[in-house]
Subunit: 425 residues, 2 copies
């Protein structure tokens, strides 16, 4: 089965938002082995939408639309599909009644106040192209659409991810799979690395790729983002077990080649791995940050349940705070400066003591755009204090302020991860 995606909306075309829906749907379709060959974005224009739907159906068995199902005048997906299929729009009385009940409930309980009457234009969401079936929307007001046409089946879903995801999983995907019969299954295995550049990872695996995956099944892809590199091994087979058997030897060879750079697989995160390593040791963590300004703590607390391990942190942005709050020796600041390995080590020790944690992690450096203490932009010093003693790591990042801060967060978390992995207790 061949599918195409068609996202509708001027806000996508003009770059007000990125097309994250296409990325999400691309992953879902790849996971079930539906072949996706083209993904298109079109503006809020009935004729253009209709033309792109017709073209997509000429190339693929199904086209999956997102966006343009809302109540306002620029929501034109319903009209575009109807035009493409050569049918008229009709208002569905059951959908209309459901919308009316929903708006009345809002008027009674909701934030808009009692006596609220939804503007008439809201009931456009009860319109369907002739012959179409509505797809239930458990979250928002706009139902989805499924329409069988001569050229293939058309699905349309709202553009809001929170409404689209459950509609795809609950309605569109089961319908697609039913039609596809027994598709080939694609299984992915993602190996996650940090602290090494993509080209180094790729080079480390170059020989293995040619040896173990010469015919493109399994396939290996290298994906770098946010200072980390993922190695994705994908295999296509008749069932999941067979696909996993194809992946196994490649994964084994890749693991050997990556060594300690490998921190996890699939949905693992670097911050989750650090917290897990600490939990396994029965230890806790406190962090002190200057150049990363709270982002290391912010990343760790992204993880639900971080409080079992993470005690807290100090953002010592003003240099005096390093002394007054973290107790860094003023001699260290005067001699080596606030951006130095010595300051990083003292900050780590200070925050560990202040928050009563087993381990302290600290980052100081120069994010940019200007140098600081005559130290160049990109300078980073990481300090670590724990049962392993006191360690520092210094590096120089090549990016701008934003990139340097993100990479410094990754490097700090990865430095602690490597230290905890090597110094087992």
């Amino acid at each position: 089965m061949r599918a195409e995606l068609l996202a509708v909306g001027d806000e996508l075309l003009f770059g007000d938002i990125v097309n994250g829906n296409a990325a999400w749907l691309g992953r879902q379709l790849a996971d079930v082995g539906v072949e996706l060959t083209t993904s298109t974005v079109v503006g809020d224009n009935v004729e253009m939408i209709a033309a792109r739907v017709r073209e997509a159906l000429g190339r693929a068995d199904t086209v999956i639309l997102t966006g343009g199902l809302g109540p306002t005048q620029d929501d034109l997906t319903r009209e575009g599909i109807a035009l493409a299929a050569g049918v008229a729009l009709r208002r569905d009385p059951f959908l209309e009644a459901a919308l009316r009940r929903r708006f009345q409930a809002l008027g009674r309980q909701g934030p808009v106040g009692a006596g609220f009457e939804a503007p008439e234009m809201n009931y456009r969401q009860a319109d369907l192209p002739g012959g179409a079936e509505p797809l239930p929307n458990e979250v928002g007001t706009a139902p989805g659409i499924r329409l069988e046409t001569a050229g293939g089946v058309v699905y349309a879903m709202p553009g809001v991810p929170g409404e689209m995801y459950p509609m795809f999983t609950g309605s569109v995907l089961p319908d697609l799979l039913r039609r596809a019969g027994e598709p080939a299954v694609v299984v992915h295995r993602v190996l996650r690395t940090a602290g090494v550049w993509e080209s180094v990872v790729a080079q480390a695996l170059a020989g293995e790729v040619d040896r173990l995956a010469p015919v493109g099944n399994p396939m290996i892809a290298f994906l770098a983002s946010g200072g980390q590199t993922r190695v994705r091994i994908s295999a296509r087979a008749g069932d999941r077990a067979e696909a996993r058997r194809l992946i196994e030897p490649v994964e084994e060879a890749a693991r050997a080649a990556l060594g300690i750079a490998l921190y996890g697989v699939d949905d693992d995160t670097l911050e989750g791995t650090v917290l897990r390593l600490l939990a396994e040791r029965g230890e806790t963590l406190a962090v002190a940050e200057s150049m990363t300004g709270g982002l290391v703590a912010g990343r760790l607390t992204d993880v639900a349940g971080a409080s079992a391990v993470f005690r807290g942190g100090v953002v010592s942005y003003a240099t005096e705070a390093k002394e007054s709050v973290l107790g860094v020796d003023p001699d260290v600041l005067a001699t080596s400066g606030a951006v130095s390995p010595e300051a990083a080590a003292a900050m780590a020790a200070g925050v560990r003591d202040l928050l009563g944690a087993t381990n302290g992690l600290a980052v100081t450096g120069v994010a940019g755009p200007d140098e600081q203490e005559s130290k160049p932009v990109g300078t980073v010093h990481i300090g670590m204090v724990g049962a392993f003693g006191t360690l520092t790591r210094s590096l120089r990042l090549p990016g701008d302020r934003r990139t340097n801060r993100i990479y410094a967060v990754v490097q700090a978390l990865d430095a602690l991860r490597r230290t905890l992995s090597v110094h087992t207790c």
Copy 2:
């Protein structure tokens, strides 16, 4: 002039990365009034690339490709363009020599080590479709391509944003503008609001939209993301001054309707506005965070020069840290709990004193997924201490852990912004 975008790459189609290049190019084209009607993503397949190029040229005057220009076997944009245009690829001796010099320099100085010989496949980057001109790449190794065809002009640029942005601005855009003659100019004005929902902003402006922009020029769009809502007023005219004259009365009416919800325009940020308000008062700020775990501090320190105003912060993730580091009265924690307006106010006062700042801002709450102290997920209490006295603001957010944390950051910064705006010194 009508343009289409065509991004090449399995990694885009399968959702490994989002198509940020299309968003960026969409903004650039909209800004100069080039009409963009369709944007497409196609996988790493020569025939597919060629087919999409031909289709795009059938609809538009130019097609701008990104991606697929690298050295590896799956970089097939060169071949795809050649197939679409019915020409052969030829190796450009000047490009090849330049690549050879570049790789030799890498071998001498670079991280790959002395004696490095670039694999032969790298010289595929010196191939050009017959009749094409190379576009200089100041950053990376792959040159861009410009090819005049019967159907229109084809541009191809690397997919790496750091290489593509300067190539577009330096080579593609000037060439496009030269061809377009004197295009209509589109001017945008963005009004930025925080602390109100998109629907409330839209409702506040509904009457004005119909009255001032009935014919779609200027046009008003509402764009909600990350807990903030932007109102974009766009006008198309013969020159920028005329476009600005069209925008002016709509902007004035919108400003009046938005009131204090409006925090800035165009590229202003909420965090930058908070820092500017503090700098104007000659004041400083310290923040204490639990549920946001460092993200408020992280957002403030995104701004270069934040150190003039921002002293630092404490992430008091463990409840004991609120007492031991911030000096919150244990009676407050015992009576009201760590998630309470009283705790938020005490945290704000504590961090202000600890870091010697003029103002303290604190956030405590329940991000989720589980309730805490029997308080429901989404509970947020914001505390503010400054020359204006002590203020708290409590709210209930409807999202999951990730959304609640992002929205809490925005609500905390916005609460302080509104307070500083109202309590002028």
